[in-house]
């Protein structure tokens, strides 16, 4: 009996070890690539660990303005502006749906369905309309088109957080003479602050990771890091080391942010349909 349990445990660890290898090897390989010189990434069989690790690829990406840094900054600006707007719009909406039960049945699902909109279905009108408004290749153009995609799950997450919070406390504040708006700002928001942070982080990650809109709706001045990464595909020479460095730089922020909301990852990715 005991022996069977030990065998089972060994099997479990071997299987999980294989899963870990499959999940992590590609990332480790890329990190290793980013420290290689050109001579080392153009060899076969491959050099697994660079013999003399170089920081040149990172220097190139961070200190040559139009190779990497500019686009990392653009991504940060677009994602931050979008996140702020999303919170401003979705807090009152989520509050009304959760507390007044307006549109609890239909409107909330309509808002949720925005998240499922296929980007290719709206990118053509966005392109034509933004061209007319002279908003192609601007921060605001990109910020605006990201709004519908984030609003869906932002409202849903916030409805969940507001419902978890007892109504009595804000009613007590209102009995004490606060207006409802004051009660929301002074009482509700501070208590659901962790929820707001989770929501903001998800919005930021979505904007940071988005590619199709960034590719089609920007040219150079508002280009984000994902669009820049795709632009490295020159047919003649592919600068794998440099690209790897930018890939690593683009992954680090989302990874750190995702770790900080790890507890809510399922809720965020499933748009509130599944809670852990």
């Amino acid at each position: 009996m005991r022996r069977a349990a030990v065998v089972k445990d060994i099997f479990t660890y071997i299987a999980l070890g294989l899963a870990l290898f499959f999940a992590l090897f590609p990332i480790i390989w890329t990190v290793s690539m980013s420290f290689k010189t050109i001579a080392e990434y153009y060899t076969f069989p491959p050099v697994w660990i660079p013999r003399i690790p170089t920081l040149d690829n990172y220097k190139y990406m961070l200190f040559t303005w139009t190779s990497g840094l500019k686009y990392l900054i653009n991504s940060t600006i677009v994602a931050s502006l979008n996140t702020i707007l999303i919170l401003l719009i979705s807090i009152p909406a989520a509050y009304a749906i959760a507390r007044f039960r307006i549109g609890y049945k239909n409107l909330s699902f309509w808002i949720l369905s925005q998240r499922m909109l296929p980007p290719i279905a709206v990118v053509i009108p966005y392109f034509l309309l933004l061209r007319r408004l002279h908003l192609i290749d601007t921060y605001w153009g990109l910020v605006m088109v990201y709004l519908p995609f984030n609003i869906g799950f932002a409202v849903w997450l916030l409805i969940g957080f507001i419902q978890d919070f007892p109504q009595d406390i804000e009613e007590a504040a209102m009995v004490d003479g606060c207006s409802r708006l004051k009660a929301i700002v002074r009482v509700v928001l501070p208590i659901i602050a962790p929820g707001l942070a989770v929501c903001a982080i998800f919005c930021f990650i979505f904007c940071w990771n988005e590619f199709m809109f960034a590719l089609i709706l920007t040219r150079e001045s508002a280009k984000t890091v994902t669009a820049q990464l795709a632009a490295f595909q020159s047919p003649t020479k592919i600068m794998w080391g440099e690209i790897s460095a930018l890939v690593v730089l683009a992954i680090i922020p989302v990874f750190v942010l995702a770790l900080s909301v790890q507890r809510y990852l399922v809720r965020g990715l499933a748009m509130g349909a599944v809670k852990e």
């Binding site: 990332i27 009152p92 369905s113 279905a121």
Partner: protein, 291 residues
């Protein structure tokens, strides 16, 4: 007094409604109109109204559309099945109360959160026939043949599927793990006392109780797979010979490489209709749970 109060309550929803009307409903109506024209950005003449001609062309004469639909589903179905099976397997293993569960879970979910475009680039490097790590690993175990993963028709589709499995299996795993943790221990214990063995407990208790979670996760993945674009954009751009050209890639090429906006809009409307079918079903399930 009362109507005034009602009005102020609706004010809370005003921004979100204005936003959705301006940024989704209006553009969608706009592209519906464009889809009824022959708008081309490369032509000097203005667009002409052509009625349903674009839709007719696509549905009855456009082999490339049907091929892209076929490609989308022959990538989506194997990817989804693999993700569900592997995700379920890993979730069950993690749920056995092993040591180091937390750290293993964190490491496993890493691929889900990174930008899909980086996933594409990472795998493009791995698949590279001359300097890639996969051929390098095969070389290390004695297979000296350099496999051209991304330029052989059958293999390219396989390569795309594996890349999707790499990025999204952890999502399935997380969802199923959350579902497993919500199953009351008493249920399993009661079955154990009644003499059900591990396999029976899994088939008759665990799986039925996971039904909702698996349905939600599957539908979310289907909708994502219909949109599949970023990874293919860097891996194969639809090639070789159109074997990985999904519906999103095809629509993109028509609209933004050939600049046939009218035809592209009609294509995008068909993608929208397919997605709406799945999302209606998704919402129905989530709603049913709420009751």
């Amino acid at each position: 007094m009362k109507t005034k109060r009602m009005l102020s309550k609706y004010n809370y929803l005003l921004p979100v409604i204005v936003l959705l009307v301006a940024i989704t409903i209006f553009p969608l109506l706009y592209s519906l109109i464009v889809s009824l024209t022959n708008l081309r950005l490369t032509s000097m003449e203005g667009p002409k109204f052509v009625g349903l001609k674009n839709y007719y062309e696509i549905l009855f004469h456009d082999k490339r559309f049907w091929r892209s639909l076929y490609n989308t589903f022959t990538i989506a179905v194997p990817a989804l099945v693999l993700e569900a099976i592997i995700g379920l397997g890993i979730a069950l293993l993690l749920n056995r109360g092993i040591r180091g569960k937390k750290i293993i879970t964190v490491l496993l979910i890493l691929p889900v959160v990174i930008p899909p475009i980086t996933t594409g680039l990472i795998w493009r490097m791995l698949y590279h026939e001359k300097y890639g790590a996969i051929n390098g690993l095969l070389y290390a175990i004695g297979i000296k043949y350099q496999i051209t993963w991304l330029s052989t028709p059958g293999l390219a589709k396989f390569a795309v599927i594996i890349t999707d499995v790499w990025q999204w299996t952890p999502f399935m795993m997380m969802m199923i793990l959350a579902g497993l943790q919500s199953i009351p221990v008493e249920c399993i214990e009661a079955a154990e006392i009644d003499g059900a063995n591990a396999f029976q407990r899994f088939i008759y208790i665990t799986l039925p109780m996971l039904r909702y979670t698996i349905m939600v996760a599957t539908l979310l993945r289907i909708m994502d797979l219909i949109k599949l674009f970023d990874v293919i954009f860097v891996l194969t751009m639809g090639g070789p010979g159109g074997t990985t050209e999904t519906i999103s890639i095809y629509t993109y090429l028509v609209s933004f490489r050939a600049f046939r906006m009218g035809f592209g809009s009609a294509l995008s409307y068909l993608v929208l209709i397919i997605t709406v079918l799945f999302s209606t079903y998704f919402i129905k399930i989530v709603r049913g749970k709420g009751k």
